[in-house]
Amino acid sequence: MAERGIQGDPRSTVAVDERIAIRLVDVEKSFAGQKVLDRVNLAVPEGRTTVIIGASGQGKSVILKHMLGLVRPERGNVLVFGQDIAKLSKKELRKVRTHFGVLFQNVALFDSMTVYDNVALPLRERTEASEGEIRTNVEEKLAMMDLVGANDKYPAQLSGGMQKRVGLARALALDPKVVFFDEPTTGLDAKRSNELYRLFYRTQRQLGYTAVIVSHDVPKIFKLSDYVTLLADRVIQGCMPPEEFQRSQHPVIRAFVETTMGTIYSSEREEMNHDE
């Protein structure tokens, strides 16, 4: 059974029994006088993977930054576990962020710190854990990411794929309730992307966190998602399970699916013809 409409938005089909972790209500945002988001409504169900897709420059990362409280909306509300974070003080916002983990597009590892110290940082700064407990936790997270033996390396000494895995280990260090991924596979080849997706899938099932992924990697990302959200023309065009998304008759969604997936299929066909 589906709840048709988030705050009156008929384009959402989030199941009615889902508990909502994050909700954007009529969010508007402009940069330099140019409107990027116009009455954006979106619900992110708890424990699920919601993928936000759309063409470049549409404002997908801006949505993510609103959810993280890095950007405040000009109008509308950003509710995280029921709290409107746009109205919170810095201290209160920091409290909400204790439930967050983030994997940035360019990873944003602390380049003057080793892999170990990068993952240990949130534990050292945000918990009262002893150095022994921190070591146990960090090594467990690094092992989960297949990074055993990389403790003393610096980010610059790692490949792009390894850096992403360290970023994911750091994001998961405190077992957050919500993990945000901003273009997680940017700059990775197909093999490394698949590795990262495998690790994401494994940890998400294991730890049960809510995942919000901004991605261009269509249609591969559909396999990981519970809900797919399309941002186009400054509004959310739809938020629904991937199967439903691919069958949608909504003209903008239809056009997006045909453009992105059609291109992939035709390029694959060209490659096959070329091989023959």
């Binding site: 993280l68 409280g69 890095l70 920091r94 409290k95 962020r97 204790t98 967050f100 983030v102 940035f104 360019n106 944003a108 590892l109 602390f110 380049d111 940082l121 949130p122 700064e125 945000r126 750091r170 945000f180």
Partner: protein, 241 residues
């Protein structure tokens, strides 16, 4: 800039207090600047000794060389030149480090991990700069006075007793107090301007981003800090004299 300073000072007094990051920053801003301070202090004192000797000789007052060197260094040259050296060595590095962290979303990452960048990143630098600057100024003054003595006494034949006695007789507590006040204020100004320029790199709309942006704000931080030090040197002298 004012709100940024207030936020930094508030983060300094807000618990928890961690000693290790402050010690690391004192090592970076203070200990690692000591060689350049020794070098600059020695040569400044030597030049003062040389110029002072030939000027004072015209009036038959070579015996006042110790006084001239010591007072000039303690009240003016020591704090100012130490601050300028620290700007070049540590201020520029602080600005570039924070600017790169801003550029590569490391500061956003701290925010997202619920770690206060003011407390974690900036407070240790503020404490370390305010502690290091008076200590470096002290080293500069002592080495400068010795440099002046080497030139005056050893090379130019001024009586050692006259050099030292002139210094003891003319340097009073108010001179030392002015030197301390200046070095404390300069320590705060240097770290404030350098940190703020790097921290607000993303808001700077006067040129390119990325590496060019870091280079631009670092240059701007060095120029602005240097000019500010000279202006505040005059203001403090005018108030305290």
């Amino acid at each position: 800039m004012g709100l940024f300073l207030a936020a930094c000072l508030a983060s300094v007094v807000r618990p928890p207090y961690k000693l290790a990051p402050i010690v690391r920053q004192i090592h970076f801003i203070g200990a690692r600047s000591s060689f350049v301070i020794l070098f600059t202090g020695a040569f400044t004192g030597m030049v003062l000794g040389l110029q002072g000797y030939y000027t004072l000789r015209k009036f038959g007052s070579e015996g006042l060389l110790g006084s001239a060197v010591a007072v000039s260094l303690i009240r003016e040259l020591g704090p100012v030149l130490t601050a300028l050296m620290v700007i070049g060595r540590a201020g520029s590095a602080i600005c570039a480090e924070i600017g790169i962290m801003r550029n590569s979303e490391q500061i956003d990452a701290l925010e997202c991990m619920a770690i206060d960048p003011f407390k974690y990143l900036l407070a240790p630098k503020f404490v370390a700069s305010v502690i290091s600057m008076p200590l470096l100024t002290f080293i500069f003054d002592v080495v400068g006075i010795l440099g002046g003595m080497v030139v005056g006494v050893v090379l130019l034949g001024v009586n050692q007793g006259a050099y030292l006695q002139g210094m003891y007789g003319s340097v009073v507590w108010e001179d030392i107090e002015m030197g301390i006040v200046k070095s404390l204020v300069f320590g705060l100004l240097v770290v404030w301007i350098a940190s703020a320029k790097g921290f607000f790199l993303h808001l700077d709309r006067s040129g390119g981003f990325g590496a060019e942006g870091v280079s631009r704000v670092t240059t701007s931080a060095v120029v602005l800090s240097s000019v500010t030090i000279l202006v505040w040197d005059y203001l403090i002298s005018a108030i305290m004299l």
